[in-house]
Subunit: 230 residues, 2 copies
DNA sequence: TGATAAACGAGAGCGGTGCTCTCGTTAAGG
DNA sequence: CCTTAACGAGAGCACCGCTCTCGTTTATCA
């Protein structure tokens, strides 16, 4: 009487579960994502989902990884067509892509850059996944540094080695002087800070046209980075 | 048989409920805040809470307002002792106070600057509450602008009036040139962007000592603002 | 081919949640 | 003093994540 057809392969089932979960995430947010609702959408019983994801958080983590990858791919695709040498334009385009993706997928963005959902986010998986976007932005900074005459290091770059993971940073942007690492981190983190502020409503009362403001910010950051003006 | 002594006044009950809720928020986060658990802690039945807060989100909103106020008061208190003229030091101290408060109250900070908890956050109340911290940071920028010779406006300050709420911004910092509004907003928002990145784990792999990094950031922002060095 | 073991889905159930409704009791005000 | 509003208790609804059992299906291997 039980156990209807098992037409799906395991991989297909996992994909279907993630797809349904992603749909719910996109429409009503991570807090409203329900294992039971996912099961209902797939004509399954809730306990069946646990054959594929041990826990709700595990499913959510999978969605986080996918979202990071989607964001990374989107930014890569947006920036790729720009000539490698036009680093400032690449920076602009990449930053705009981050913002556009966030606006198009606000709940996914909130899941990635808002409050971590469990008490602690599993670092290993998500950190790895997050590196794709970081890589794009870092590569732009690095390409700029590589193709230009050496720039005087940032005055604040005293003993940066003491409090940064210089090895990791250097791996992403080998041509950038260590004295400029802080500014690079500022620029990178500020892109997400601005988008978060916009999406989470903290610019209400200050910024009327977030798009235009964002353009200004991106340019200001490009100046801070010393990106060549084109 | 029912209805034990009603010793508390309404105000006291509300205060007790908020206190219990705040305790739970601080210890296990907003997601784990439960009306039933609050009621249990006060030796009440869950439905009794609804005499004071119509919904869980309403209670949470009250906590948000209180948290904003606490943060504002903390930053005010930290910055007050510094001589008014030492704007750069005031900026440093205020920024440090923001970060310290966030570290001391991570769940409160996440509630304020992380993912908004309902679909939309009630703007009126929380925006008002959030203005206290903004006021402190804005006043520092304004005092600096007031006491110094006029500084050349930011090159990017083209038609800022078009996309900022210039009236509101001007109300906070009347002495700051409109051409510098964007930088002021950048500095303000970046303080919270950095703290959020640190608290939400996005600096893992890049920043080893967030405290030292934050000092650099704050100084870099002070430079961006053109704060007088002391 | 046929037996065995693993994977799987259904179903019931546990303890928890937010929230609603009713029903006595208590306290305050005219 | 009596009326009325505020209040707390309690039961209950619909949902949640998660666990366990049990029968079925599928794949593997002798």
């Amino acid at each position: 009487m039980t156990a209807t057809k098992r037409s799906h392969s395991r991989a297909a089932r996992i994909a279907a579960i993630k797809a349904a979960a992603a749909r719910q995430l996109a429409s009503r947010g991570a807090a409203a994502l329900s294992i039971r609702e996912v099961a209902r959408e797939l004509d399954l019983v809730s306990s069946a989902i646990y054959r594929y994801f041990a826990t709700r958080d595990e499913l959510l983590t999978a969605l986080i990884v996918d979202a990071y990858d989607d964001l990374g791919a989107t930014v890569e695709a947006a920036e790729a067509p720009v000539a490698r040498g036009r680093t400032r334009e690449r920076w602009r385009v990449a930053c705009r892509a981050v913002r556009s993706w966030a606006i198009a997928n606000p709940h996914d963005y909130a899941l990635l850059y808002g409050t971590p959902v469990p008490d602690y986010r599993a670092p290993a998986l998500t950190i790895e996944a997050a590196s794709r976007v970081i890589g794009v932005l870092g590569r732009i900074m690095d390409d700029d540094a590589a193709q230009r005459a050496s720039v005087a290091p940032d005055d604040a770059g005293a003993d940066v080695a003491g409090f940064l993971d210089v090895d990791n940073v250097a791996a992403v942007m080998p041509h950038v002087a260590t004295g400029r690492y802080v500014r690079a981190l500022i620029a990178w983190s500020h892109v997400f800070g601005s988008v978060s502020f916009e999406l989470f409503g903290h610019f209400v009362g200050s910024v009327q046209d977030p798009g235009a403001y964002f353009e200004c910010v991106v340019d200001e950051l490009a100046n801070l980075l010393g990106l060549a003006s084109d």
